[in-house]
């Protein structure tokens, strides 16, 4: 318990100005009220279980495996949470995940752009795709599910057409240092991931942008009446998730040391990121969500896949467990928020 109290304290100090009930108890209650609590307990519980079931689980190479499986999903999920809180969804982010490393490769190898600039430009193109998603959704009032279904297919097509469906090597211009910084090192991926998760947590919970994101998702008409420019917020969030998708794709390409047109599995990693967000306590209805919860959701999924592999269960039931986890967390989410509303939690 002392472990988890510590976490709660770091995440958010107990609110001031309440009748004092002893600091430990207060922190404990604040911790229990947090939506991340249940998924943190699940993540720790899975860790304990797999560690006891297989001696290999807690070894450093396996920790690296889990970290590298968590990172790309959690990076995408950090941005996806903002879009989901807006009441929208971005199905195209897995396609952007595959496109960004190719754009880097084309810029460096066909146009002689320096590698770092190429990475920046590849991210800018990712952001532009996000802008298109947001623009079509906001101004033509196309549901984002449909908008991004369209752009996802276009982007997947662009990747296949331009690459002729062949993988490409990482550009020679990328020095050892750059490779290591951008994902080839064991802990590079997860370090970027933690930085991004922390920044997006602050963005969502501690800035006017985050507040407006929640307002636009929670009460679209009301937010507009309060003078919030809902369209701008939505477009901005689409641009952010797309940029993160591109960045995670570049990191992943450096990590596996090749640029693969099937990176991200068409829609695969996007759905994993949405699952992580949902398991972490983000409602698809808009208005509420947590970036840290989504990170923990990604961690749970990575632990599950890795742990089942280690203890020799076939990977096939993974999807059954994933499905059950999504449903259980969604039902718990609805139930818990009802409890909170009626003032009993």
């Amino acid at each position: 318990m002392s472990d988890s109290v510590d976490v709660a304290e770091r995440v958010e100090p107990a609110p001031a100005g309440r009748p004092s009930r002893g600091p430990l108890r207060r922190v404990g209650e604040a911790f229990l009220r947090r939506r991340e609590t249940s998924v943190l307990v699940v993540a720790l519980g899975l860790g304990v279980y797999f560690a006891s079931a297989s001696p290999a689980f807690l070894t450093q190479p396996n920790m690296v495996n889990i970290a590298q499986a968590t990172a790309p999903v959690a990076i995408i999920a950090a941005g996806m949470v903002l879009v989901l809180v807006n009441g929208e969804i971005d199905l195209s982010v897995a396609a952007v995940f595959a496109l960004a490393p190719f754009n880097m490769h084309y810029l460096v190898d066909y146009h002689g752009v320096p590698i770092l600039l190429a990475i920046v430009l590849a991210l800018a193109i990712s952001a532009f795709i996000g802008f298109v998603n947001g623009f079509i959704t906001v101004f033509f009032r196309v549901p984002s599910f449909v908008t991004t279904l369209g752009t996802a297919n276009i982007v997947i097509g662009l990747v296949l057409v331009t690459s002729h469906a062949y993988p490409a090597p990482i550009p020679d211009a990328a020095t050892e240092t750059i490779r290591h910084w951008f994902g080839a090192s064991d802990w590079a991926h997860i370090t970027w991931c933690l930085l991004i998760v922390a920044s997006f947590h602050v963005l969502l919970t501690r800035t006017p942008w985050g507040l407006h994101t929640i307002a636009v998702g929670g009460n679209p008409l009301g937010a507009t009446e309060a003078g919030i420019r809902a369209g701008r917020i939505k477009i901005g969030n689409f641009m952010m998730v797309s940029t993160l998708g591109g960045f995670a794709g570049i990191l992943e390409a450096f990590r596996i040391n090749t640029i693969d047109p099937n990176l991200g599995g068409g829609f695969g990693i996007m759905f994993t990121a949405v699952s992580a967000a949902v398991i972490g306590g983000t409602a698809l209805a808009g208005g509420s969500g947590t970036v840290i919860g989504a990170f923990l959701g990604a961690l749970v999924l990575a632990e599950l896949q890795d742990g089942m592999n280690l203890i020799g269960i076939s990977a096939n039931p993974y999807f059954i467990i994933l499905g059950v986890a999504i449903l259980v967390s969604m039902i718990a989410n609805v139930y818990l928020s009802r409890l909170r509303r009626t003032g009993r939690a």
Binding site: V202, T207, L211, G218, G222, E225, G227, I228, R341
Partner: protein, 269 residues
């Protein structure tokens, strides 16, 4: 008549508004004195909400003039109207259930330090301001979803007053509210009136309640003001009779074409 706006907060002259083939406002003239509370009544579809949305800058009128503090203004947007001190409490209150009371109070006017929310300051100021206004809620940290209808309305009103509104438009603040909750809102309005800093237009259906707090009553019928009397010179009975008479007239006319439907706004120089 025009010119100095000494004791005048707002004047609306010959305002007209159509939506496609539908004439919402034909020719509205309305005057609001400084510190006055004006009750705006009228049946559903009379154009009350359209008028409010024109005064708060949400819609632009097709014809007519609007004067704020004696000066003619062309309200371009809600934000523009707000900079002139016109603020609206909408029927739906524009509160976000998922946010705390103090975040709602500062929605889109957040206090920021180093680009981060000044939560501590906002929380303190919100609490102070609500205490000043005599609004009692369990905690400013609570999500708005937890509050009762009256409390939510009070938060919405307090938010507008806090933003330095000089002219406050309340769109059916008493709708769907219990007796106790309604009393809370009426007390709030009375307090504001006693301070005399804010001029208020209230849209309402419950004539008894608004006669309690309003200085003057205007009746909007078929897109223009047809009745304008100080509260002391009218009664619930008179107001009810007026609206019911309108309903009866409309019912007997139902089989005949409505002449007002074709009437055009009268353009004035």
């Amino acid at each position: 008549m025009a010119g100095d706006g000494g004791g005048e907060a707002l004047r609306v002259e010959h305002v007209a508004k159509r939506f496609g083939g539908l004439t919402a406002l034909r020719d509205v003239n309305l005057r609001l004195a400084r510190g006055e509370v004006l009750g705006l009544i009228g049946d559903n579809g009379a154009g009350k909400s359209t008028l409010i949305k024109i005064i708060c800058g949400f819609h632009q009128p097709d014809a007519g003039k609007i004067f704020v503090g004696g000066e003619e203004v062309a309200l371009k947007s809600v934000d523009h109207a707000r900079t002139l001190g016109i603020d609206t409490v909408y029927q739906d209150l524009a509160l976000v259930n998922e946010l705390s009371v103090y975040h709602n109070m500062f929605l889109n006017r957040e206090l920021v330090r180093w680009r981060l929310l000044g939560n501590r300051r906002m929380r303190r100021l919100a609490q102070q301001h609500l205490d000043n206004m005599g609004v009692n809620i369990p905690s400013v940290d609570d999500e708005v979803a937890k509050l009762s209808g009256g409390q939510r309305q009070a938060i919405a009103v307090a938010r507008s007053v806090y933003s330095d509104a000089k002219i406050l438009l309340l769109d059916e603040p008493l709708a769907a509210m219990g007796a106790k909750e309604g009393a809370l809102i009426l007390d709030l309005v009375r307090d504001l009136k006693d301070r005399g800093e804010v001029s208020i237009i209230i849209i309402a259906h419950n004539y008894g309640q608004i006669l309690e707090v309003c200085d003057r009553i205007n009746l909007l019928q078929h897109g223009s003001i047809t009745f304008d009397k100080p509260t002391s010179e009218t009664s619930v009975q008179e107001l009810t009779d007026l609206v019911v008479a309108e309903y009866r007239a409309a019912r007997t006319q139902k089989l005949r074409p409505d002449p007002s439907a074709n009437a055009r706004p009268t353009p004035r120089p």
